[in-house]
Symmetry: D2
C-alpha cells in the first residue's frame, strides 16, 4: 500500500518532480499564467531562512511582539525604554557609550552615524571591500563628504597598510573619520577593528572610528570600549533576531562631543533631539514602535540568558561548521584568507559553469530554503549562507543538506552527505549542553 502511495502521487506533483530536473527558467515561462494569487509563500513545513538578514525571529520574541499599540507617553514605555538603553550597551560591550534606537534600518543608522559627527567636505577614509561597504561609501559621497576610498579585491579585508600610510602622512589631521564595515555581508569578510585602533593610536591620530557592525554585533566578538570605537551601529533584523525597524547606534563621548561642531543638516537622525528627551525621562522625540521595544526586551533577555559570550561562541561553531562543509564539497570560500573569515555569513564560490542565481532560485522553489544571492561584482559567482542570529546546529545541518542537493540539481558533482559529515564531525565535538536544560 505504501509503495502505491508514491505511484499514486497526483499528476500535478508528478509533473512537478519531472520539472524539478529541468532548468527553472523554462518551467517559469510555461506556467506563469497559473499565478496571480497573493500569498504564494506557502510550502509544506517550516521555511528555512538562511539569508544573512533578516534572520529567524525566536518564537519568544514573536510572542512578545504580538500586541496592541500603547501610548508611548504613559509611564510604562519610558520605564521599558530605560532598561533597554541600559542593556543594549552590553551587546556593544561599552559602559561609556550612549545608545540611540532609531526607528529606521541599517542604512538610516549609517546616515545617523555620519551626519551627527561630520560636516560636509570633511575628509574620511573608507574601505571598499564588497557591496555593503560600497553602499556606505555611496552614501558618504552623496552626503558630500570627501571620501578617500581604500579598495580591496572582493574577498579580501580592509587594506590596513594603506591606512597606515595615509595616517602617517596626515600630519595635520585632515582625516576626520575612518569608516569601516566590521563584517562585509556580501563576501563574508570580517575586518580586524582592533588593528585599526592600534594604528590610530600608533600614529596618535584623532580621527573618529565609525564602525558598521550590522552583521557582526551580537554575533561576533565586538568591543566598543576596548577598541576605542566612536560610533558603532547595528540593525534589529540581524544578530538581534528581530524584525527590521530599529537602527541601533552607539556613540562614544568623543562622538557626542563631535556633534557640537557637525554642520550636516539632519532632524530625524539628530542625536541631540534624543538626548533632550533622555534628560526629560520620556526618551522619545517621536513615536517608537511599541512592538519592537517589547521584542527587543525579549531578544536581549534570551541573549543574556544564553550568555553573550556563549552566543558568540555559537556563531563561531556554526561558521566553522559551514566552512568545513564548503571545503568538503570541493568549493571555495569567497573569503581569501583565514584571517578574514566570517562567522555570520559564508559566501560560497561556484564553478564557472554554474550560475549561483540558479542555486538560490532552486533553493526557494524546491526546498523551501532562502539563500543569499551574489551581489554586484560577485553576482552569479557566489551564493551566501547566512548563519547568524537565533540559530542552532541542526537548523544549519538541514540547510547544508539542502545545499548539497541543490548543487547536485545544478550539475555540480558533489558527494551527497559529504558537507554534512564534515560539519557534524566538528560539531559533535563542540556543541555544549543547553545550559537551561542541564
Amino acid at each position: 500500500m505504501k509503495c502505491c502511495v508514491i505511484k499514486e502521487e497526483s499528476s500535478r506533483a508528478k509533473s512537478a518532480i519531472t520539472r524539478s530536473l529541468r532548468p527553472i527558467q523554462s518551467v517559469e515561462k510555461e506556467e506563469k499564467e497559473e499565478k496571480g494569487k497573493m500569498d504564494y509563500m506557502n510550502g509544506p513545513g517550516r521555511h528555512h531562512l538562511f539569508v544573512p538578514g533578516p534572520v529567524n525571529i525566536p518564537e519568544q520574541v514573536i510572542r512578545a511582539m504580538n500586541r496592541n499599540n500603547e501610548d508611548y507617553r504613559s509611564p510604562a514605555i519610558p520605564a521599558l525604554t530605560k532598561t533597554l538603553l541600559e542593556d543594549v550597551k552590553k551587546i556593544f560591550k561599552t559602559t561609556s557609550g550612549t545608545p540611540f534606537m532609531f526607528p529606521t534600518t541599517g542604512t538610516g543608522a549609517w546616515e545617523s552615524a555620519l551626519t551627527n559627527t561630520l560636516s560636509p567636505g570633511d575628509r574620511i577614509v573608507s574601505f571598499l571591500i564588497g557591496q555593503f561597504s560600497l553602499l556606505w561609501i555611496d552614501q558618504q559621497k552623496r552626503l558630500n563628504f570627501n571620501v578617500d576610498v581604500v579598495e580591496s579585491e572582493w574577498g579580501q579585508g580592509a587594506n590596513l597598510q594603506v591606512l597606515a600610510s595615509k595616517l602617517s602622512q596626515d600630519q595635520n589631521h585632515s582625516i576626520k573619520a575612518i569608516c569601516i564595515v566590521h563584517n562585509e555581508t556580501a563576501t563574508g569578510v570580517t575586518n580586524d577593528i582592533s588593528a585599526v585602533r592600534t594604528l590610530l593610536d600608533h600614529y596618535k591620530h584623532p580621527a573618529l572610528l565609525l564602525v558598521d557592525g550590522v552583521s557582526s554585533i551580537c554575533a561576533l566578538d565586538f568591543r566598543m570600549d576596548e577598541w576605542g570605537v566612536d560610533v558603532a551601529l547595528t540593525g534589529s533584523q540581524k544578530a538581534l533576531s528581530l524584525p527590521t525597524g530599529l537602527g541601533i547606534v552607539c556613540a562614544s563621548p568623543k562622538a557626542l562631543e563631535a556633534t557640537k561642531t557637525s554642520k550636516s543638516l539632519k532632524v530625524f537622525f539628530d542625536w541631540n533631539d534624543y538626548l533632550k528627551f533622555y534628560k526629560l525621562g520620556t526618551y522619545w522625540p517621536y513615536t517608537p514602535s511599541i512592538q519592537l521595544l517589547y521584542g527587543l526586551r525579549a531578544a536581549l533577555d534570551l541573549i543574556f540568558e544564553e550568555g553573550l559570550d556563549n552566543v558568540i561562541a555559537r556563531h563561531a561553531r556554526l561558521g566553522k561548521a559551514t566552512r568545513l562543509a564548503v571545503e568538503a564539497w570541493g568549493l571555495k570560500n569567497c573569503t581569501q584568507k583565514e584571517e578574514w573569515i566570517s562567522n555570520t555569513v559564508t559566501a560560497v564560490v561556484v564553478p564557472p559553469n554554474i550560475d549561483s542565481t540558479e542555486i538560490v532560485k532552486r533553493a526557494w522553489k524546491r526546498y523551501n530554503l532562502s539563500l543569499g544571492l551574489g551581489l554586484n561584482k560577485v553576482a552569479g559567482k557566489v551564493f551566501r549562507i547566512g548563519h547568524l542570529g537565533n540559530l542552532n546546529e541542526l537548523q544549519l545541518l538541514g540547510c547544508l543538506a539542502g545545499v548539497e542537493m541543490i548543487l547536485k540539481d545544478v550539475g555540480y558533482p558533489v558527494v551527497l552527505g559529504s558537507g554534512v559529515a564534515a560539519a557534524s564531525t566538528y560539531l559533535q565535538h563542540h556543541i555544549p549542553l543547553i545550559p537551561s536544560r542541564i
Copy 2:
C-alpha cells in the same frame, strides 16, 4: 454573601479605593518604593487606548503580523509590495501619485517630503497652529529652508487670508512650497486643503503644496488629485491602525519633477533610490519590515471591505458624538470654530482650576484608559480624546463614560451619564448595520 464580597475586599484594594479619592501625587510619593518591576501595564480587562496615535490595532492585523522574517529578495515580497503600492494610492485618492513606504515615522516622512523637493535656502510658507505644525516648522528651519511662518492662535486653523496676501505679493514666485498640516493633532483643528489649492490656482502660483496628513489620511476626507496636493504623507500608527514604522509619502508628478533640482542632501530618504528599485521590480533599496508589509495588507483589506467612504463617515460619527458629549459636560472644545472641527481628535479645554495632566494620569491609573496630554501652550489646559483608526461606537462610549468619572474625580461638577446620553442619542440615529453581517 455577595454583599460581604465588597466588605471582604483585600486591604490592599480597600486602601486603593481610599487613595483613589486623594490627589495622585501624594499617593505616588508614599509608594514609589513598591515599584521597580518591568511590565507594570497589567490592569484588569482591555486597555482603552484613546490617544490620537498610536491607535488600536485590529486583531486581524495583529494576526497578520504574527510571523517570522522572510528574505525580502525572494519572489514573495516584491509581489506583495506591488499590491501595496497600488492599493495605498487609494487611501490618498490619487491615481497619478507615486507612493513611497519608508521604514520610518511621521517625522521621517516630513523630512523626506522636504528634502526631496526643496533646496536649502528655498522660501516656504508654513502654518503654525499647534504642536505638530510647530515641530514641522522646527524641522524646516533646521534643514535650512527659509520659513515664512504664518501663526494662528492655538485652536484656530491656518490663516489663509495671510496666505492669499503672500501669494498675491509673490510675483516672482519666490515661494517654493506651502507646508500645511491637514489635521493638527494637538488642538483638534482640521485645515481646509482644498481652499489652499483654490488660492494657489487663483494666483496661478506654482508653489508646491506639501500636506501632513498624519492624523487625517484614511480617516478624514482627503483628495490628493482633486486638491492638487504635491506631497501627502501619513504614518502607519494613525488611521491605518498599524504599529509605528511606516512613513507613507505620496508624490505628485510635479513633486517627482522637483527632485531633479533639489539640492538637499539625503540618502535614506531619497525617493530616487526607491524609483530605481521600482523599475527593477525588487522595490526595496534596503530592508523593509516584513511584518509591517503583511500588516499593511491586512489593514488595507479591512478598510476596503468596510469601504473607505464608510470609514470616513464612521470617523465623522465618532467625532460628532464626542463633541456632543463635551458640550453636554459644559466644557469647551479647543477648536474655536465649527469650520475647523476635527473628526479624529477632540481637545477638551478644562476649567482654570483643574490641571488636565491630572486627568490623564488618573485615566491611566484608575480606569485603564489612555488619553492625550495637552502639549506645549495648552499643557495642563486641555486633554485630548483620540477617535481615529479601527474604533467603534461602543468603545468610544466606554471612553466617554470613563472621562465623566474622571472629571468627577478631579472635582468638576459633571452630571454622570450626560455626555454618554448626548453622544448615544446622536449615534442611535446614525449607526449603520455592519455591512458584513446584514
Copy 3:
C-alpha cells in the same frame, strides 16, 4: 467639509442606516443572497463580548498561547504542570483537594464529577433552577443515576427547604450526593453553597456535595475547603478567561475515596488514571494542549497579580453596576430576590411586547456586541449580560451604553444614558486604583 462627509456616505452605508430602523428579519430576507463568504465577523473596532462565556481572553494570555506544540513527555511540560496543579488549587480555595485538568469542556467536567464518585442507580438530589442545571440533570439521568429533582421557578435559587426535608427523612442515607450549580448562568442566580453544607452537617448526612462552579469559580466567592465541597469544577473559558478546552475538577479526599466504590464505567474521565501519572511525575495519561497549559500559567499569574480577592471584588462591582443600570432602565432582573443575585451574569427581563432575541441579533448586527440569548423557558423573554472574567468598568459601561441604544431600537422607551449614569455613579465611588500603577 466635515458635514458633507456624512452626506457623502456611500449608498451602501446609507441604506444600512435606513435598514437599521426596520426589523431585522425583513432585512435578512431581502439580502440573503449577498452572503456566502467565510469570515463575516469583521466589523470596525473591537468586538464587545458580553456573553457569559466564552469570555474575553487577556492579551497577555493570547500571547502566552501563541506557540508551537512541544513534546509533552519532555522535562518542560511536567515541570509546568506541577506549578499549575499547585496554583489551581488556590482558585478553589482548597489545600486538601486534588485537581484534575481534563482536556474537555464543562459538560465533560460534569461527567467526570459524577462517574468517578457514583454508581448507576445511586440516588442523588439535584436542583433544577435554569437551563444549565437542567442540562446537568439530563446528564445525571442518562448516566442512570436515580435523580431526585428539586425544582424552583426560573429566577429563584435552589429550594433548600426541600433539601432539609429530604435530608431529615433520609435516615438510611440513601442519598449519595447533592448536585448543585453554584451560579445558574441562564437566569443569573447564585446559590448559597455554604447553606447546603450547614444543612448536611446539621443532619450529619454523609452525602457528597458536588458543585458546578462553571460560572462562579475565580469570579464569585468560592471556598471549597471551608464549605466542605467534595467535587467542584469549572471550565477554562469562563472566569479564567482562556479558550475553551480545560475542564478543571477538584476532588476532596472524601471524593477520592468514593472512586474506590464507584461502578460507573469511564476511561477518559477516570481520575485514577491521572493519579497514576501524578505519582510517576509525568502527570498526563494522554496528550494535553500545550497552548492551554501555558495559557493557564499566564491566566493564573494575572489573577494572582491582581489578587484573587480583588478579582472577586471587581466582579461584585461590575455586577452591582449592571443591576443599577437595569433598574434605571425600568426593567426587571430575572433573579427574583436579592439573596440570589449573581455577580457574573445578569438576565434582564424584557417587556411582553418585545422579543429579547431581536435585541441579541441587533446587538451583533449593528453594535458589534455579543449578548446572551434567553434559553429554554425564558427564550425571547430575557437577554443576558455576562460580566465575568478579565473585564473592566469602561468595557462594561460601553456595553451598557450599547444596550440602551438597542432598547431604543426595538421600541422600548429607555432614557438614553440613564443606565450608564446609574452604573457610573456607583462605580466612581468604588473603583480602586490599579495596584500595579500606583
Copy 4:
C-alpha cells in the same frame, strides 16, 4: 580573532562541553540544585520537534488561532462549523460519513467510537500490536466489552489470519466489531485496513469496523468509504498539525444506525446530541474551542492547497528517507516486514549495549531535538522519529544529522553523514517543486 572566540567561551559553556561527553545522569545529579525556574525550554534556535505527536504547527495555523474568544451562538461560528464539517470529510475520503469534532483527545475519540456503537458485554475483536493498541484494548475492557485480543509480536502488524479464522467460526455473528489501529505509533507499524474489509466481506460478516487513524489520517492513504470503515477517528495534534483538543470521529451510516441499539452510557461523547444540534444549524451541544475551529480551517486550507494526495506522497517520501538513513546507520527498524512499514513514524532499534532513553534525553539536552521514547515492551530498546504533519525534507535531514551525532555521543560507531547521504540521495530524486512557487 575568530579562533580566540572559541577559546574565550565562558567557563559555563566550556564545562557544558566537557559535560556533554559524560553520561547525562551524573550531570543531572550534581546540578539539580541550579534549577527551579519555570520556562526552562529556552535553547538557541528553533526547537526540532520529531515526536510522533503533538507535531509542528504551521505558522499560518498559529496565526489563525491567535485570537480572542467569540460567542459560539453568533451567526459566525455555525457558518464556520458548517464548512469544517463538509471539508473534514475529505480527509477521511468519505462522502457518506458523518463527522463529529469533539473537544477532546484521541483517547476521548476512542471512547466515543466504542460507546456510541456498542453495548457492555458485546464481543469485539481487537488487535494488540503495540502501546497504543494496548491502551485502546485497556479502554475496551474497562468499558465492559468482551474483548477478544489478537496479539502480535511488537514490530509486527495485526494478525489477519487469526481474524479470518475467528470470522469463519462466528456463524452467529457474535462479533459486533473489529477494532484496529491503522498505524501503531509505538512501533511504526501500519496495518492493512482494506484487507480487513476484504475478510469481512468474504465471510459476509456484519461486524462494525472501527479504525484508530490517529497517526495515519491526513498522512497515510486512508479511504473510509472504499474500505467500508464504520468509525474512523483522529486527533488534531497529529497529521492535521494543530494543538491538541479536537478528537475527530467520522461515522458511517451503519455506525449511526448502531447508536439506536447501543446501551453504553455516555453524554459528553454522545453523537446523537451533536446530530440534534446539526439539525438546528447551531452545531454545538456545548462550547467548542473557537481558536481550534479557526485553526482547523487554516490547517485544512493548507492541506487542500498542497493537495491531499501530495501530502500523502510527501509523507511517503519522508518515511522512505528515514528508513534509508536507519539502514545506512546499520540499525534495525522495529517494523519487522516491509508490508507494515509506516510513513509517519519510524521506531529505531538500538544495539543491546545502548539505552534508547539516553538518546532521547541527549537529543533534548544537547541538540534542542525531541525524539520519541520507546514505550512499554520496547522501552530502552527503541527510539522513535516522528515524521508526520506539516514537515519538509530539510527539517527531516536536520533531525537525521542530529540523530547521527547523538548515536556517536552514546558510543555507537556510526559514520557521521551516512544517514543524511542515504536519505538525501533518495530525496534529491523525488522532491517536487513547491506547486505554489513554480
